[in-house]
C-alpha cells in the first residue's frame, strides 16, 4: 500500500469537525508555516515538485512565483472546486470528508501568496458540500485561524465559499474568475494571465482543491521530503478517481509511479474488471485525455510497463500515450462500444461549450450530430474522415482548452479504434441491439 498523505485520517469519525481534526494533527502545518516567511513557503512548495492536480499538471510552486507582488495591488487565492471533468470525483470526496484539510491548505497558501481575501469556488451542484465547508470555515473563524490577526501573527485573511451555477467551463481558471465576478463563464483571452490580472483585474492564483490540500503535508514533512515520494518529475501522492467497469470504484490515494496494471487488477485498488470480463480501453485522466486501448494502457509502445505518473502516461505522445490529467480513471470492458462512448463524450463537450469562439461552438455541435447520425445507422465511411478533420480544425484553434478537450477524445478514438468505427457505419444493425454497457443495474438486482 502506498503512503497516505491526504486520506490518512479519512476514516476517522467526525474528522470534518475542528476538534477532531486538531486531535489528529490538524492545523499544525499552519503553525509551522507561520514560523516561515511567505517566500520560504513558496520555496518549500517548489522543492516539493508538486504539480497542479486539476489536470494540466503545471508546477504549483512555479505558478505561485509568477504572482505579481510589485504592483502593490491586492492579491487573491481562489480554490478551483468546480470539479466537473467526467470521471473525476476526488475533490468532492476530499471536501466532504475532510473540509479542514482544504481550509488549512487555503490559509497557508494565502499567507504564502500574501492574499488577504480568498475564495473557494465550488460547483453549484455540490451545494451540500458548500454547506459543509461553510460550517468548517465558521469553526476556523471561531478558533482564530481566519479573520484578523490570525494566531497573533498580524496576518489577516477572509475566506469565503462561493457557489457556481452549473457549467463545466468554469473549471477553466479564467472562466472561473469571470464567473466569480458574477458574469457568464466565458474564458478570457490570455495573456494577461491571472497571476498578473485575474479576479477584479488583480493578481490571482487559481489552484485545484487537491493541490491546495497537498500543501498541508508538504509543510508538515518539508518539501524535500515530499519530493522523495513518487517517480521522476511526478512527485508525491495523487488521488485517483476510479470508475467504470471495475470491481471497486472509488477514490484511491496512490504514490505516483504505481504500475497501471497493478492499479487496475490489484485488490488494493480497482480489483480488476467486473464479471471477469476483458479490459478494452481506459481513459486515464478524465474524459478529455486520449483514450487508450488495453494493450497501450498497460504497456507503452516500447513494451515497458505503463506507470501512473505524468511522464509514463504521456510516453509516446498522443500517437500511443495519453495524460494523467485530473486522475479520473475510466475503465471500459469488452462490451463497451467506443463509438457510442465517443458520442456521449462529444455530447458533453457540445453541451458545455461556452459558445464564445467559433471552432468550439460550431465544431462540438457538428461532431455530435455526425456521431448521432452514425449511431442511428446513417453514417458513412466519409463521416469518420470528416470527424477526423473537424477535430483537427478545433484542436489548438480555440480561446481555451475546452476545444482541445473536445477534439482529443475524437482523435484518439479514431486513431486507436478506426476499425470499430468503420464496422459500425457499415454494419450498424450489429450494434443496435447490443447492450453497449456492462449492465450493472440488472446484476445488482440479481445480487
Amino acid at each position: 500500500m502506498s503512503k497516505k498523505l491526504l486520506t490518512e485520517h479519512f476514516g476517522v469519525q467526525g474528522i470534518d469537525q475542528l476538534p477532531v481534526y486538531k486531535q489528529h494533527g490538524g492545523y499544525s502545518a499552519l503553525e509551522k508555516a507561520f514560523k516561515k516567511t511567505p517566500d520560504e513557503i513558496v520555496q518549500e512548495v517548489i522543492a516539493s515538485g508538486l504539480r497542479g492536480r486539476g489536470g494540466a499538471g503545471f508546477p504549483t510552486g512555479k505558478k505561485w512565483s509568477f504572482i505579481d507582488k510589485k504592483s502593490g495591488k491586492p492579491r487573491y487565492l481562489v480554490c478551483n472546486a468546480d470539479e466537473s471533468e467526467p470521471g473525476t470525483f476526488k475533490d468532492r470526496y476530499l471536501m466532504e470528508v475532510n473540509p479542514h484539510l482544504l481550509i488549512e491548505g487555503m490559509i497557508i497558501s494565502s499567507f504564502a501568496l500574501g492574499a488577504n481575501l480568498s475564495f473557494i469556488y465550488i460547483r453549484g451542484e455540490l451545494l451540500y458540500v458548500y454547506h459543509i465547508l461553510e460550517k468548517a470555515i465558521a469553526e476556523a473563524y471561531e478558533a482564530g485561524y481566519l479573520g484578523k490577526n490570525i494566531l497573533g501573527t498580524g496576518y489577516d485573511l477572509e475566506l469565503y465559499c462561493h457557489t457556481g451555477g452549473g457549467a463545466y467551463i468554469c473549471g477553466e481558471e479564467t472562466a472561473l474568475i469571470e464567473s466569480l465576478e458574477g458574469k457568464r463563464g466565458n474564458p478570457r483571452i490570455k495573456p494577461p494571465f491571472p497571476a498578473i490580472s485575474g479576479l477584479y483585474n488583480n493578481p490571482t492564483v487559481v489552484n485545484n482543491v487537491e493541490s491546495i490540500a497537498t500543501v498541508v503535508p508538504i509543510i508538515n514533512m518539508g518539501g524535500e521530503e515530499y519530493a522523495k515520494i513518487g517517480i521522476g518529475n511526478s512527485k508525491g501522492t495523487k488521488l485517483i478517481s476510479a470508475c467504470g467497469h471495475i470491481k471497486k470504484p472509488g477514490i484511491y490515494e496512490i504514490e505516483l509511479g504505481l504500475p497501471v496494471e497493478e492499479f487496475i487488477y490489484s485488490d488494493s485498488y480497482c480489483g480488476g474488471i467486473r464479471g471477469g470480463r476483458k479490459l478494452k480501453a481506459v481513459v486515464a485522466g478524465g474524459s478529455s485525455v486520449p483514450i487508450l486501448p488495453a494493450e497501450l494502457i498497460l504497456k507503452t509502445e516500447k513494451g515497458e510497463p505503463r506507470l501512473m505518473s505524468y511522464e509514463s502516461l504521456a510516453e509516446g505522445g498522443f500517437a500511443s500515450g495519453t495524460m494523467l490529467g485530473s486522475g479520473g480513471f475510466i475503465v471500459m470492458d469488452e462490451t463497451t462500444s467506443i463509438v457510442k462512448n465517443l458520442f456521449n463524450f462529444t455530447r458533453f463537450y457540445h453541451h458545455e461549450s461556452c459558445g464564445q469562439c467559433s471552432p468550439c461552438r460550431e465544431g462540438t455541435a457538428w461532431m455530435e450530430k455526425i456521431l448521432h447520425r452514425i449511431l442511428h445507422g446513417h453514417g458513412t465511411l466519409k463521416d469518420v474522415d470528416l470527424l477526423w478533420t473537424l477535430q483537427k480544425n478545433i484542436d489548438g484553434k480555440t480561446i481555451c482548452p475546452l476545444g482541445d478537450a473536445a477534439a482529443w477524445p475524437v482523435a484518439s478514438a479514431i486513431r486507436h479504434f478506426r476499425a470499430e468505427f468503420e464496422d459500425f457505419v457499415e454494419h450498424p444493425e450489429k450494434y443496435q441491439d447490443v447492450k453497449h454497457y456492462f449492465n450493472q443495474i440488472e446484476d445488482k438486482q440479481l445480487a
Binding site: 466537473s84 473525476t88 455540490l126 454547506h131 469565503y160 452549473g166 458574477g182 470504484p249 458533453f348 450493472q440
Partner: protein, 181 residues
C-alpha cells in the same frame, strides 16, 4: 409567459443575500449573483421568471439583462416552471457506462413523462444533466441538494415513492433550511 407566484424574498433570504453581497470587495457585489439566483430559485418555487430575475436585478442594483445573461448560461437555473421535485439524472461518460440510459428510461416509463417534462400532478420534473462528480457511485441522480448514488431500478422506485409521499414544498438546490444569514 408564466410568472413566479411570489416575487419577494423572505426576511431570512434577504438577510442572507445581503450577507453574501458583503463578501466581495467594495463595488464588486455583482459577484454574488449566482448564489443569489440559487436563493431566488429556492424562494420562488424552483424556477426563475423574468419578473423573478428583475427582482434580483433590483435587489443587486444591476441591469436586468445582466441577470438574464447569467441565469441563461448556467444549467442549474430553470427558466421554465418545474415540478416540486426535479430529478436530475447524470448522463455522462461513467454514469452512461454503468447504465444511466436504463435509469432514465425506467423513470420515464414509471412517471409517464419524457426528459424535460413535468408530471401532470406537478410533482416531478425529469432532467438529464452532465457529470455531477459522483462517477464512483454511477449511475446516479440528484434531487435538490441530495445525491442518490449506485442506483438500481428498485432503489429508484423507492426513492421516487419517498419523494411522492414526503414532498409538500418545492425542493431546491439551496435547501430551504439553509436560508439563514
Amino acid at each position: 409567459m408564466e410568472d413566479n407566484k411570489n416575487i419577494e424574498f423572505s426576511a431570512d433570504a434577504l438577510a442572507l443575500a445581503k450577507k453574501l453581497m458583503g463578501r466581495y470587495p467594495e463595488g464588486k457585489h455583482k459577484s454574488a449573483i449566482i448564489p443569489i439566483l440559487h436563493l431566488a430559485q429556492a424562494e420562488f418555487g424552483g424556477w426563475l421568471s423574468p419578473k423573478g430575475m428583475d427582482y434580483v436585478a433590483t435587489l443587486m442594483n444591476i441591469q436586468p439583462i445582466e441577470v438574464y445573461e447569467v441565469a441563461s448560461f448556467y444549467s442549474m437555473f430553470n427558466l421554465q416552471p418545474v415540478g416540486k421535485c426535479v430529478i436530475e439524472v447524470c448522463r455522462t461518460g461513467p454514469c452512461w457506462l454503468m447504465g444511466a440510459e436504463d435509469i432514465v428510461n425506467h423513470i420515464e416509463s414509471k412517471l409517464n413523462i419524457k426528459v424535460g417534462e413535468t408530471t401532470t400532478d406537478g410533482m416531478f420534473t425529469l432532467k438529464t444533466v452532465e457529470c455531477l462528480a459522483a462517477c464512483g457511485g454511477a449511475p446516479m441522480m440528484q434531487v435538490g441538494q441530495k445525491y442518490h448514488e449506485d442506483l438500481t431500478f428498485n432503489k429508484v422506485d423507492s426513492i421516487l415513492e419517498d419523494y411522492k409521499k414526503n414532498t409538500t414544498e418545492p425542493i431546491s438546490h439551496w435547501a430551504k433550511d439553509k436560508i439563514k444569514a
